[in-house]
Symmetry: D2
Subunit: 433 residues, 4 copies
């Protein structure tokens, strides 16, 4: 086929040299990713972060293409070039099962975007499956097994999913570019120069160690400053409480929801088919929320308009040992007239920026390996004091969310407002501390 290119602000160009990649991009399941934002509610905090999962998946594919091209050219002894297409295809499709506001939605409706991804790839009803089967009857299952981490070739699995994989490399660069939060930038060109296949999987040459270190730092900084931003989590919390309210109301108001939000019915009824899932996207969800804004249920209507019009909750940090005292705050929220079940929430965000392999833990990490001059491998944190300081430590915070009205001093509830604020200092819940 004639090479196709897509202009991309992050990688300059996405090169498509293989018909099957081009056909996959043109399937309706892949095009659907244009209608799902990569960053979910973060776009409400970083207004530039409005890019879709479509562009991220293209970007992950492009990194996979560049890596496998290098492997094919330079490392024929350690790399089976027949795996290259599998890596590219899996990179392209790794997120195809994501839905609208996945993280929140999954918690409420018990779905799992990784499971959906596998279904889209292996179910004969999808266009994606049809394209893949043209390659080989078992190609869909191979792709699914890479996503599952069960594919025997560890090199392939690690390129798609490890502590430094094509997915993460693209999303850090991309989210950084679009939000304008420059912390996520790292030297991809350098990493491409030093990445190589080794017997056990993927490793990096010693002279690129600093680029890998910088990648780990960038990842940490993006989590702390973008992904865990309190205002984005406030939108998640609103969304979660809104959907919780809808679920609560549904049994007694089925007709209302059948009209106002038909595509959600299978989820309320817990009878979800793949096509039901694919029929949801950001636009569909927001359309429903806009209808709910006029619902006779005041809580549903109010939460919907808060979400649509971005009237976010405020939050404070609390320590785990002090969590028990939050009932005090919920009581005050209730006294002011807000149902704490729908107008408060706890949101926990923690990340383990990096870890070496610990066989004793539940899901041990594949550690990042550096190739020494004498060809022995050394684990990254053994060489980098900075990474060592991050290894094995979870970072993040617990936040308690509540209506902004609790902080304004109104004449009617000034007593509760005062009491509420007295328990806060420097954005921390200090009662009992």
């Amino acid at each position: 086929m004639i090479e196709k290119v897509f202009r991309d602000p992050v990688h300059n160009y996405i090169h498509v040299e293989n018909q099957v990649i081009y056909d996959l991009i043109n399937t309706k399941e892949f095009q659907r990713l244009r209608r799902i934002k990569q960053l979910g509610t973060s776009g409400y905090t970083f207004h530039g972060g409005e890019h879709s999962r479509f562009s991220h998946c293209l970007g992950a594919y492009e990194i996979a293409r560049r890596i496998t091209q290098i492997f094919d050219e330079k490392y024929q002894d350690d790399w089976d070039h027949h795996e290259s297409l599998l890596v590219m295809v899996t990179a392209l499709l790794h997120d195809v099962g994501h839905g609208a506001y996945s993280h929140t939605f999954e918690r409420l409706f018990d779905t799992d975007h990784e499971e959906i991804t596998r279904q889209i790839i292996t179910s004969p009803e999808t266009e994606i499956n049809q394209v893949l089967r043209q390659l080989a009857p078992d190609f869909p299952e191979k792709v699914a097994s890479v996503i599952n981490h069960t594919y025997p070739n560890k090199q392939v699995v690690q390129l798609i999913s490890s502590q430094i994989d094509v997915d993460r490399m693209d999303y850090l660069l991309r989210d950084s570019y679009f939000t304008g939060a420059s912390y996520g930038q790292f030297d991809l060109t350098r990493i491409l120069r030093v990445i190589r296949p080794v017997a056990q999987g993927i490793a990096f040459k010693r002279n690129g160690m600093h680029a890998v270190e910088d990648y780990v730092l960038s990842r940490y900084q993006m989590y702390m400053q973008v992904y865990f931003h309190p205002a984005s989590r406030a939108m998640e919390v609103l969304l979660q409480n809104l959907l919780k309210r809808a679920k609560f109301l549904y049994p007694d108001h089925k007709a209302y929801f059948a009209t106002s939000s038909p595509n959600l019915l299978p989820f309320f009824e817990k009878k979800v088919e793949l096509q039901d899932y694919l029929a949801l996207d950001d636009g569909v969800m927001n359309t429903y929320f806009q209808v709910w804004m006029t619902s006779p249920d005041t809580i549903l209507a109010d939460l919907a308009q808060r979400f649509i019009n971005r009237k976010v909750f405020k939050s404070i940090i609390f320590s785990e040992k002090n969590e028990k005292n939050l009932d005090l705050m919920r009581d005050l929220v209730a006294q002011v007239g807000f149902d704490p079940d729908y107008y408060t929430a706890i949101h926990r965000n923690f990340d383990l920026p990096y870890d070496f392999y610990r066989p004793e833990v539940k899901r041990p990490r594949t550690q990042i390996e550096i190739i020494q001059k004498d060809n022995h491998l050394a684990e990254l944190s053994s060489l980098s004091p900075l990474v060592e300081s991050l290894a094995g430590t979870r970072h993040g915070d617990n936040r308690f969310y509540f209506p902004k009205e609790m902080l304004t001093d109104t004449s009617i509830f000034s007593q509760q407002n005062q009491a509420f604020k007295a328990h806060i200092r420097n954005d921390h819940f200090i009662y009992g501390e």
Copy 2:
């Protein structure tokens, strides 16, 4: 108030130092702009170009803030600092009346986003109007008159709307950044250093002439390469034919559209209130199109799925004198089984990149003025041979769109396919040339 900032990848930070600006941003009419893409269908060609009108409006405001801050500090004799807030507010709100896929939608449903903008600003029912009235009872009308070009102070009008205004400066930089088409970049910092108020309006100091020249070139290049891209126009053409089909079907299928696309009814019925208009956004429209994909009308269903799944038409360039011969092509399209009314279209895109003031034409341009060392003004194209070469000349092309199927060689219609292709060379319609 405490200064607020918004992280912005184009301007680094958007600074809000004025409570009224902050309140305007938080109105529901302004937040709605988050749900409308700046570039309409261009995002289907340049996948990075998914940013919303929300971010562009913030950006235009930020440029206005920087310019008026400079004017307030450095040009007290030539600039009335009471106008600064008016400029910032108008810059923020200048596009607030844009709707989903405005350009196509307006042609089909006879709406006008500039008129809607004025209504949103002046109608007492909007939150925006309420915020503005707090400044002064006549402030909404003042803002509207700037947008109307009837405001007496020409400096204010030109900052908002002229051949080099805050709107254009932001969208060139922004669209360029997000699409990755680097041609739109120019030296905003330099332009901010040399822009100044003069008796007749706005002018630029001689030592920044090259930055202004570069801006004109950037604008030209963005039009030729991004805004007029044939694939984006192919999506516009699909959308236009889809909505045309819906309008055609509506009178006999009112119940279907009442269920599938309730918010469009006022437009089909030509009884549109402001709130009807505000209830439409990209997500709502796409939600409706997804429902239409299962319509019993095969043309409606097919065009809807082509739009949603990005199955674009192909196109050729034709010259105006040869337009009459296109019926030949439409006939061939019809022979293959496509209704030419819905499966072909003509799309014309022309731009006048720059012009000096020509009193004799209908809407004469405000020319760009350069301040010489002796303080006389000189019109830009008199100093720049490059701009002179663009001045007064329209650039663009006429394209004829048709289904991609016309170019593939099928066994059934190979005769028509051959005939069709015989009239095309180098993407031009050559019959009769």
Copy 3:
């Protein structure tokens, strides 16, 4: 050999995969380029533009490497891969004969950096020649013939020297990056994607036409705004008059110059060997000028300190037909006490940004060719109205330089100052106009 890389801010990395390239970089003749600034006196105007010819030559090589790699991989039918090394070597060495402040120096001492380049390559005494001969005995001559434009393969010659060659592409990007004058940026990645060998030489695919057009514009803008900047030319003029004075003094003060500036003697004596030329660099020249600052000849001393301490002349633009009247200005300069032979100068800078092939002119240009969809070639300006407007037209100006003191109003010479200034308006010489 093991691949070596050089970190480069313009191309990210310079890749060296070939031992001969690495050996050439390590020769003393090539290392000498570190001591010669790429931009000569422009660094006195754009303080960031202090990069050396060393980095430009590496950059030109890197572009050559990328292009030939693409040609080797994709265009085996139209490109002889044996030529790739020749292209890379010539790109690396194309400027190796440049000396300190070449343009001015050559005019004064009748040397020619292109001729020196050929000598360095072909003379058996140089390390460069020794490295090249290891490839083949006639390799040095081949390289020299490419630089001479006499090498039979036109593809090779055009890659090194044409209106869009590796030299120009690198220096535009590089000078733009280091000076901070962003106008020189263009889309190199795109150009690399569309450049290809054709029977007659080098051409560019139609879908990259806009990138080529943008390159031509960038080149034009860099000439107008950076290379022709009046302040840089003022430094050139100072340098020229300073060396002119030294040449004038030399016959009667040989001992002084033998001590103060030994390496210049061969040039004063017009007995120049290759090694004499190689012994001069920016640092050596500036060291001599610093010694001359204490010369007993007041003109030599004063011009030397003006150059070293950047006390530039001022200038005005004059039209060719008005040039005869400049004697009037020279007279006024003389009346104030400055010898016009050393304290005034005329500097002409004109560039022909682009031209198509004109067989009738002395050195016809190789025109830029665009490959149409039907594989016919079309000359660039026939497709691009912007380039058409630049084609065949020389741009630049004539400037008359004089001491800044002429513009200040001193009590002693106020009459002459007034008269001088009366002939200037908006930086133009207006007497007689």
Copy 4:
């Protein structure tokens, strides 16, 4: 005065709004900085890093200008606006005493660039002093006292010299930009938004803490990857041994050095005046080294050509406890025929990336303070786990340098070569480990 601007690739423009700043830039002592490279020998490793101290000093001034402008506008209560000019002047002049290859030169000739800086500022013979005295007779002394850290206003002192000052902020950004080592980038705009004067000095608002953290990381990474690069230190080592040899030879060869390197005589004689120091720059030094390349002393000649032609020594890392065993290596070097006094060297590079205030140490650091929401100050590392991991720990390495010839396998000395290499693994000296 009319505002002047200098195009700068790092800060876009340097703005000069004050005549005294403009006059200082135009003094001969400041213009001299154009002839001294900011990065010394690092430019031999990172070829883009050829920028001068001139551009760095302008950059430090520009940051000082932006900060004091903000302080003047926003913090009148906590900032004395009369100090702003002092800050800008000191920022501009803080490095004016740097000489050619300062770090190496100072060690050999016992000079001190900080002391010279003070002399240039306070000595009545300099143009800089004359400009400063026009402001106030004691202004030169005030500037010197800021550089001395004895000026009473701690805010002023900390802006010029602390763990986050205008000097460091500019050099990280600038060295990163010119070398292309992207690690040095951080968010200056953000830091400018959150920096503010407090009673005890300078502090940063809580909402910019991550930008400050990122600055500390950037600084660490630039030290590890650019400033401590083994190849640049190899050039320093060459230079040091070369000058050591010249000092050794001088007493018996005074006439040779009087002719070949006149400006070094005062240093050999240890009778240095300020003007002697100012007469040295990179170009003068390199000119002398080029003359020395033909010296009859083979060691001087060889080291000079190795430096000029960049024939660097190789190096290995050794641990302090193993340093005593290096004599073994020196012996092998001697056996091959190299004088170990001039052909080997030890180079130690360690940096303390950040530390909080420790009253017990000799030169305690001024810690970086973060302003909490309740206005209390918190030391940076108490809030940032990443900075905490760097605080108080020195990073770097000890390296032993030797001729590259020791690693090549020659027939004559193969026994020594083998023995030498047997003590090295992964670039570490392993004998005795």
